[in-house]
């Protein structure tokens, strides 16, 4: 059972928009140091967004993030088959004094 809750799977057609939620508590998601990671099949995770909505070099601007209260959301527009991957949110939990991940969400582009 992960500290951060994500839907196990989401799907959408190419060109459409998808959102992935990440729900936590007052000891974790309230921090602005929340990030999202993309794990393509058979590869290591890669930083997708940091500090809620900042894109590192290489992340396209059709990827965005937001946060409200104890929930965060990853949005991807203009879906491509290459976006098929597992997505994880992560942040620091002050009660656990540890970094925590969501359980991961598998994105399928139909």
């Amino acid at each position: 059972q992960s500290v951060l809750t994500q839907p196990p799977s989401v799907s959408a057609a190419p060109g459409q928009k998808v959102t992935i939620s990440c729900s936590g508590s007052s000891s974790n998601i309230v921090s602005n140091y929340l990030s999202w990671y993309q794990q393509l099949p058979g590869t290591a995770p890669k930083l997708l967004l940091y500090e809620v909505n900042k894109r590192p070099s290489g992340t396209p601007d059709r990827v965005s993030g937001s946060k409200s209260g104890t929930s965060a959301t990853l949005a991807i527009t203009g879906l491509q088959t290459g976006d098929e991957a597992d997505y994880y949110c992560g942040t620091w939990d002050t009660s656990l004094s540890a970094w925590v991940f969501g359980g991961g969400t598998r994105l399928t582009v139909l």
Partner: protein, 123 residues
């Protein structure tokens, strides 16, 4: 370019010891916290703990405290994850990962990852 390069896959038997490594390059290795993340077969990511190579201060997740040892040798820019007695349940891919910053209030985002080391433990 920041790179984290991990040691190769390992196949071990239950009860054996193991130490895997992660060598950092392209940045000041001593100045960034580096940690380990476990991914069991078909499962999600689990943060195990971190070390600050500058002074070898470590922080462990309660789930992994006492189960593994994290260490580093800043002279060769390498971090390690070690088991004294492996179990079949330790079978997983282990990733090293660099945190952008860690302070009194916690750690910032993980910004770089190693390629992963597959550890297979047979009973």
């Amino acid at each position: 370019e920041v790179l984290l390069v991990q040691s190769g896959a390992e196949v071990k038997k239950s009860g054996e010891s193991l130490k895997i490594s992660c060598r950092g390059s392209g940045y000041s290795f001593s100045s960034f916290w580096i940690g380990w993340v476990r991914q069991m077969p078909g499962k999600g990511l689990e943060w195990m703990g971190i070390i600050y190579p500058g002074d070898s201060e470590t922080k462990y997740s309660t789930s992994f405290q006492g189960q593994v040892t994290i260490s580093a040798d800043k002279s060769i820019s390498t971090a390690y994850l070690q088991w004294s007695s492996l179990k079949a349940s330790d079978t997983a891919i282990y990733y090293c990962a660099r945190h952008g910053y860690c302070g009194d209030s916690g750690c910032y985002d993980i910004d770089y990852w190693g390629q992963g080391t597959l550890v297979t433990v047979s009973s």
